[in-house]
């Protein structure tokens, strides 16, 4: 792999739970993110999937420094941004931009589209001198497929899909190298989702961007990602290249997640084995001992309660060279194909 542009190591975010009003004392912590590590190569898309509450959005916020991690490192081109402040941080932030999930609440309703997209230039005037900002904004509107004449309109005059394009244009304004997209299409209608995904794809090639693409929808993630990390209760439980995760998953949670995805094909149902998990995700304030997934896992044994499985290539696949050779945090990892071959349905 090419030298990583972003290296994340043992990232932890705990939100303290306190008791008492005057003398607050900490009685515990919500372990939103509990030791996450990954690399992002230039031009690559890393998908992060997981259910609600697994910590994927908290990871996104830490990557753009909206949240300070409790522990761990985020290295951008070798430098740890979690320790930065002031001018150095400002410079780094220019290069890591974010696109938010909800295009209805992430755009200020009292600002025109031109002001929204141009606002990053107020903070980083070196990117665009005052004189030609308007032109720049219009170019950006054009790039994301909106009419440049809409520059004086307000967000409410646009549909959901168009608003998300505005959010993307704002993310692109500072010519960043990395875009962190937190569920950028999940609020959109099906027919519009495809348009926005294609737009993100095109922009990546045009501006050689690296994406961290966060979603709960495994199908969208497969479509756009080179590599995928699956999160559960604050940890990455399995990570690998797209075909390693989708065609050769070894972690039971990944297998369950894949098998639960509804496939728009009634005939495919007969070819598919469905793993239906029982129960809900445990509370991150009080996670189970050992493996976080053991309370819902059909394979759980005594060892799972005692020992936290590490995210590494499981022993049984360490010598193999096939696609099962990828990190999976399970004591009893085994390969299981849950997504049928294309065309078998």
């Amino acid at each position: 792999m090419a030298e990583a542009i972003l290296e994340v190591r043992d990232l932890v975010k705990h939100y303290p739970l306190t008791q008492g009003i005057l003398f607050k004392k900490q009685v515990g912590a919500v372990k939103a993110v509990d030791g996450v590590s990954f690399d992002l190569a230039p031009g690559e898309t890393l998908g992060i999937v997981g259910e609600s509450g697994c910590g994927k959005s908290t990871v996104a916020k830490m990557l753009v420094n909206l949240e300070r991690p409790t522990a761990g490192q985020i290295k951008y081109k070798g430098e740890d941004i979690t320790q930065m402040s002031g001018r150095a941080l400002k410079a780094v932030r220019r290069n890591i931009q974010m696109v938010f999930q909800d295009p209805y609440t992430s755009l200020n309703p009292r600002m025109t589209v031109g002001d929204i997209i141009g606002e990053p230039y107020e903070i980083h005037p070196e990117v665009a001198p005052k004189g030609n900002r308007r032109q720049k904004v219009q170019d950006l509107l054009d790039v994301v497929g909106l009419n440049p004449e809409y520059i004086n309109r307000y967000p409410h005059q646009f549909s959901g899909g168009q608003r998300q394009r505005i959010g993307i244009a704002r993310g692109l304004a500072l010519q960043p190298e990395i875009i962190v997209a937190d569920e950028p299409v999940s609020a959109l209608d099906v027919s519009v989702q495809a348009q926005v995904v294609n737009l993100l794809d095109r922009l990546q090639n045009e501006f050689s961007l690296s994406y961290v693409f966060i979603a709960h929808d495994l199908s969208i993630v497969r479509h756009i990602s080179d590599r995928v990390g699956v999160m559960y209760l604050g940890r990455i439980v399995e990570i690998g290249r797209d075909e390693e995760i989708y065609d050769h998953p070894t972690h039971p949670y990944t297998q369950a997640l894949l098998s639960a995805v509804p496939v728009p094909d009634p005939d495919a149902r007969e070819h598919r084995e469905r793993i239906i998990l029982t129960g809900d995700v445990p509370s991150p304030a009080n996670p189970p001992s050992g493996c976080p997934f053991r309370t819902r896992c059909w394979k759980a044994r005594e060892r799972c309660a005692l020992e936290v499985p590490l995210l590494e290539v499981p022993a049984e696949f360490r010598l193999a060279s096939g696609p099962a050779h990828h990190p999976s945090a399970c004591h009893f990892a085994e390969e299981k194909r849950v997504v049928p071959d294309a065309g078998s349905g």
Partner: protein
Amino acid sequence: MLLEVRDLHVEFKTRDGVAKAVNGVNYSVDAGETLAVLGESGSGKSVTAQAVMGILDMPPGRIAGGEILFQGKDLLGLKEDERRKIRGSEMAMIFQDALSSLNPVLSVGDQLSEMFTVHRGMSRKDGKAKAVELMDRVRIPAAKERVGQYPHQFSGGMRQRIMIAMAMALEPSLIIADEPTTALDVTVQAQVMDLLAELQRELNMGLILITHDLGVVADVADKIAVMYAGRIVEQAPVHEIYKKPAHPYTKGLLESIPRLDQKGQELYAIKGLPPNLMHIPPGCAFNPRCPMAQDVCRTDVPPLFDVAARRQSACFFWKETLDG
């Protein structure tokens, strides 16, 4: 036929004019049958359901025409107190967002037992016992201990189970579920859909499942009605529609879904946006976005053509769409 909606028209008066949300919808559902109504936001799928349930806000809403026949009776001719008797005991609805549809200051047990005390005149004690029974039935663990808890103490999946329990309480013959699993995680989605399908079989109810997700309905529906701009554009048994759609809109929707088993280069995207309901394009409402549109599509509204037995498409070029 359990429920028959005939040529239903619903419009909303707004400051900017009249929005035509439903423009001549026909569908029917039989006992034990599942009809999936598929559409994007603004297609009129929920408004139709609200008209059937009789929970449409009027004004600004207005039923501008049509009939809703439930067990042979036209619901639109009934007085409010007569409809109220039907609601809950004969037909019930499950909403998308369980947290905002449950009362936050009443325990779930109170809300469930209310069904029995109000509709069946039971005592509070008997109602409570019934509530526990229902919670057991929708497989909420430790029902007896949890009956006194409040909605916020339950997870999303459990709350949706409570909504299902409430809808099932009086064993209605028709259930309308409006995006029942959209707010849930995939692993929980499957649990809830399975539960719903199982209870439906057990009670032999008619089920109308409203959704925007072609994947969710593939597993459970018997037939599918696809809505666009307030009209049904295609109606068919479930297997046929996925294999060979007969309307370009359905076809576009199917092609634009990223699939787990495929990693394509570019997704097919339907161009443009769904129409503004205040200015629905003349002719076929889908014509500005349609790759097959001809002159006739811009002037004439396509009727529902019979494509095959129990299969209809509102496209002049359904033959070409089927073959292409």
